[in-house]
């Protein structure tokens, strides 16, 4: 039992990072069937935003909270630009958007390298996030708890928007049947744009959170994007529920696998488990029932 609780917390913490990375991705993938390879670079943009904001506002605590808002806007705006310039022109070609956004990711990484330099930069964590707290006899870093809280807030906010607002109703309608939604007078183009804004904005927030875990480099997004994709695949598209369960599930499984083996072997085993899982549920955990033939 002594070994279980720390691993459980490690898994929850890993899962909260995965969830932040994958939440926006799940939203845009569910909405448009688009896999956005530049999502990781939006996270990187959020992380660099934190760095810039901290240069302006000296206090780490204030700048972190400001960064969460600014990071959301930066990520969101980048997403909207991408959607307007490229993705909106490429409907019905989901696999091609995957490649195009990879080209965008390449360019964004180089922009970061040219603007901020290739070496990693660091963001100072505020003092109230320094050190661990004791929870049920396990010492948990405060920064990890902050990320977990941030993930919970993001999920709650997205769930609230989806369930309660007219925008959420439009998004759900487009996810379930795009053509019928369009016929009913919903502007799918505008809905797509707003969804992309929210999804990419969450990527920006995820980037802000990542600055608490380590230094920031141009390839920051790369290291999280594959895992985020896996979460979306396991979770299934369209609903937040799937992403939440998959992110924490994969995080906890990986944490326990690491207990028995090495970190690298745990990754391989996790992938094998995902392939096995897809034998059982090829479309992921949660699927939206639709009446469209596709």
């Amino acid at each position: 039992m002594d070994a279980v609780l720390p691993q459980l917390f490690a898994g929850l913490s890993l899962g909260s990072v995965l969830l932040l990375a994958a939440l926006g991705l799940a939203l845009t993938f569910g909405q448009m069937g688009v896999i956005n390879m530049a999502h990781g670079e939006f996270m990187m943009a959020g992380a660099y935003t934190t760095f810039v904001v901290q240069q302006v506002l000296a206090d780490p605590g204030v700048s972190l909270l400001v960064s969460v808002v600014v990071g959301f806007l930066v990520g969101g705006l980048m997403g909207v630009v991408l959607e307007v310039l490229l993705i909106s022109r490429m409907h019905r070609r989901p696999l091609d958007t995957l490649l195009v956004t990879w080209g965008v990711a390449l360019v964004l990484q180089q922009v970061a390298r040219d603007v901020f330099g290739a070496p990693n930069v660091d963001v100072r964590a505020p003092s109230w996030l320094a050190g661990p707290v004791q929870l049920l006899g396990v010492s948990v870093p405060r920064s990890r708890l902050f990320i977990l809280a941030l993930a919970v807030v993001c999920v709650a906010a997205v769930a609230l928007v989806l369930a309660r607002t007219s925008l959420g109703r439009r998004i759900r309608a487009v996810v379930q049947n795009r053509d019928l939604a369009e016929t009913s007078g919903i502007s799918t183009a505008a809905t797509d744009r707003l969804t992309f804004f929210i999804g990419s904005g969450i990527a920006g927030v995820a980037g802000v959170a990542l600055t608490l875990l380590g230094s920031i480099g141009p390839t920051l997004g790369q290291s999280y994007i594959v895992d985020a994709f896996l979460v979306v695949v396991v979770g299934g598209i369209g609903q937040i529920k799937g992403a939440v369960v998959a992110a924490f599930g994969l995080g906890i499984i990986q944490a326990f696998l690491q207990l028995g083996t090495t970190a690298s072997l745990a990754k391989v085993l996790l992938l094998a488990l995902v392939v096995l899982f897809l034998q059982w549920r090829p479309q992921g955990l949660v699927t939206v029932r639709t009446r469209s033939l596709a």
Binding site: V107, L271, L278
Partner: protein, 439 residues
């Protein structure tokens, strides 16, 4: 425009018109350039560089088959490339160490003992078999597991990418037995031939060039057979193929296995030519990098992937040394433009221009011409992979999953050698023909 095509000189007609004559002319030309001209004019250094690019082109040929013809976007070919390369590299290391010897890096980092799973690679014959067998087996198992459950489109792409990530992480993690981040390098001989000898390096180039030519011709033969038609049919209308009594899973798995084997052979030849293999050559980024050349050269053509990947690799080597920053922007921009606006590759450019020009003469054809970045068919499935129970919806006879899931903008320009059936499926041809006939 009318009659314009009939006044072309004979040689121009052979080169410009798709058909068996053009394919053979191009193949002969390629063989001449690769096997005779290049060794004659290029320095040893350049030739060795070209040999390395040809190994990458072998991966591209496989991707052209799996993705261009079969619609399976695989983002993880680095795994198969890496398997072939590492198996070959282990053999070279053991051969250099001599019978019973231990490779140098293992004495430095490891236990000083050769692990059991390295032992089979002491034998040259076993190595050659394993280079093909191990990747083929992995592709067979993974492909069957994934395609049987109708995991496709973006889901398959993500899984293959995760495989590449896991493979690279595994290699880095096993420092003592795989060389970790440094990989395996410092090979002295290749099946008994001294790698420092320029003559042997030239032979190695010829081996790579010959292998590549054989692969291209093999794919051509494959695509002209009944199997090739099935593969294209599965890409466009998987369910219809199933209803006709074929098993789409086997069709797809076969193409995936062939692509894996080609990539592995490319990797195995890459090792003695480049002199190094490391996780940096097989991870997520190089795996997607393989796609760049294929996309830019034209994914559904026969020679497009080869030319595209060689040109891109050459340009990268030339430009990235002097302008590393510029090269990345250029590569990214090129990739975006080609995939977004010329999904068939530059081979498609002529058709697009012709239709644009034709639009001036024939207003009726204008819309079709302007819509080149829209799919010609596949209307219904806007979100092919996203639809709920596609697995259960086997009664969707409509243009649903199959067509749209391939992600093709325009229908494939099936190789220069396209069989008649495939050519007839290609509205591009009809469009172009209609426009040309218009006064």
């Amino acid at each position: 425009m009318s009659g314009g095509s009939t006044t072309l000189p004979r040689w121009a007609a052979v080169v410009l018109r798709p058909g068996p004559a053009r394919t053979w002319a191009l193949a002969a030309l390629a063989a001449l350039v690769l096997l005779v001209l290049a060794p004659a004019v290029l320095s040893d250094f350049r030739l060795s560089l070209l040999a390395r690019f040809l190994c990458l082109a072998m991966v591209a040929v496989g991707i052209g088959l799996a993705w261009g013809q079969g619609g399976m976007l695989t983002l993880g070919q680095g795994v198969f490339f890496g398997l072939g390369a590492y198996i070959m590299a282990m053999h070279l290391k053991l051969a250099d160490a001599g019978p019973g010897g231990v490779p140098d890096f293992m004495l430095l980092y490891g236990t000083g003992e050769v692990p059991g799973w390295w032992e089979p690679m002491r034998s040259p014959a076993t190595t050659v078999v394993l280079v093909v067998a191990v990747p083929a087996l992995l592709a067979l198992v993974l492909g069957t597991a994934v395609f049987r459950r109708q995991v496709r489109g973006a889901y398959f792409a993500v899984l293959s990418q995760a495989l590449a990530a896991a493979f690279a992480i595994l290699l880095v993690g096993q420092q003592q037995t795989t060389g970790g981040t440094n990989g395996l390098n410092g090979f002295r001989s290749f099946f008994g031939y001294d790698l420092a000898d320029p003559v042997n390096r030239r032979m190695l180039y010829l081996l790579a060039a010959g292998t590549l030519l054989v692969m291209v011709l093999a794919v051509r033969a494959l695509m002209r057979s009944r199997y090739g038609e099935l593969l294209v049919a599965v890409r466009d209308q998987e369910n219809r193929v199933r209803f006709l009594g074929y098993d789409p899973v086997r069709v797809k798995v076969f193409a995936y296995v062939v692509a894996a084997v080609f990539a592995a052979i490319g990797g195995a030849l890459f090792v003695p030519i480049a002199g190094i293999i490391s996780p940096a050559d097989v991870g997520v980024v190089p795996s997607i990098g393989f796609l760049v050349g294929v996309a830019i050269g034209g994914r559904a053509t026969l020679l497009g992937p080869v030319l595209g990947s060689v040109v891109v690799a050459w340009a990268e080597t030339g430009l990235s040394e002097s302008f590393p920053s510029f090269w990345t922007y250029f590569q990214g921009a090129l990739f975006i433009l080609v995939v977004a606006f010329l999904p068939g590759g530059p081979a498609q450019l002529a058709g697009v221009l012709r239709r644009r020009r034709g639009a001036g003469h024939a207003p009726g054809a204008g819309r079709a011409g302007a819509d080149t970045d829209q799919p010609a068919g596949g209307g219904r499935g806007r979100r092919p992979d996203a639809g709920g129970d596609t697995a259960d919806a086997t009664d969707t006879l409509e243009d649903g999953p199959g067509r749209a899931a391939t992600g093709h903008g325009d229908p494939p320009v099936v190789a220069a050698s396209g069989p008649p059936a495939a050519a007839a499926n290609d509205p591009d041809h009809h469009l172009a023909a209609t426009t040309e006939r218009h006064p």
